[in-house]
């Protein structure tokens, strides 16, 4: 019986919900989320091949955060504002690195020493959510279609010209 499983659900066109239960009181989960030296230990999982260059966060209502990841060719910054912080129960922040940013809400609900974490990411539009998912800006859609075409043609025993 392992309740410690991460579930993802697309709740609507522009909303994603992630849930996970932790075997610890909410204040500890909040602590791991609000202290930068702890936060950076888990926000950048080694298995994902990402690396965090810097991490500044002022976790209180109106505070700002800025994370810089190593990227190719240039580092990529993610930043925003904490809209609402209620210690041990709720953190809401904006993601401002792209024009149409999403708003992320994390709630912690403690029950019998365990904590249910619910994270909701609300995008301004379906398009914004899709763009975040594919990582493709609007300008990339065409390129993307080409890529898809190429992949499809490869699947159909490659008729896209000669090899070599």
């Amino acid at each position: 019986m392992d309740a410690r499983k991460t579930a993802v659900e697309r709740k609507s066109d522009r909303e994603l919900v992630v849930t996970r239960t932790f075997n610890a009181p909410a204040r500890l989960v909040f602590e791991a989320w609000s202290r930068p030296e702890l936060f950076r230990q888990w926000w950048v999982p080694k298995s994902m091949g990402m690396s965090l260059l810097s991490c500044e966060m002022d976790v209180r209502t109106g505070g700002k955060y800025r994370l810089v990841f190593a990227g190719t060719p240039d580092p990529v910054a993610f930043f925003g504002t904490y809209r609402e912080v209620v210690p041990n129960s709720r953190i809401v922040w904006t993601n401002e690195e792209s024009g149409e940013g999403s708003v992320t809400t994390v709630t912690l609900e403690e029950k019998g020493g365990k904590t249910l974490l619910v994270m909701t990411e609300l995008y301004p539009s379906k398009e914004a959510l899709d763009a975040a998912g594919t990582g493709a800006a609007d300008a990339m859609v065409e390129t993307f279609a080409q890529l898809d075409e190429l992949l499809a043609s490869l699947g159909a025993h490659g008729e896209t010209g000669r090899s070599s």
Binding site: W42, P45, T143, S153
Partner: protein, 122 residues
């Protein structure tokens, strides 16, 4: 997940920007092949082909499996436009993050117990 999606896309795009690598994908679209096969076919050194395959592999376009001394390459299951695929990546990212968070929280719990809550908290 934004940055993950982006870098994933960049990797795919970079992988496809090379004519040899596109050729390799075409070839693998017909049949799986070993790195040696591919090197022969494209008249290049084993080291050179390994590099190309490595880039395709990183982009998720090709997977390889080593059996004995032969590394076989096949097309990866990468379907960039499918929502299922990106939800899956999203899920992977958060599952990985929350597993690490679990570890951090367990560590805090252990410390707290060890300290016997002697100190004032925060």
């Amino acid at each position: 997940m934004v940055q993950y999606g982006k870098s994933h896309f960049d990797a795919s795009f970079a992988a496809l920007s090379d004519v040899t690598r596109r050729g390799v994908l075409e070839q693998l679209g017909r049949a799986d092949a070993s790195i040696t096969d591919l090197a022969d076919k494209f008249r290049m050194t084993l080291t050179g082909m390994k590099k190309h395959v490595g880039i395709l592999e990183q982009a998720g376009l090709v997977t390889t499996e080593k059996v004995g001394r032969v590394r076989t390459c096949r097309l990866g299951a990468c379907r960039l436009e499918e929502e299922a695929a990106w939800i899956e990546r999203y899920h992977q990212l958060w599952a990985a993050r929350f597993d690490e968070l679990d570890r951090v929280v367990e560590e805090l719990k252990r410390k707290e117990k060890a300290d016997g809550r002697k100190k004032n908290r925060r």
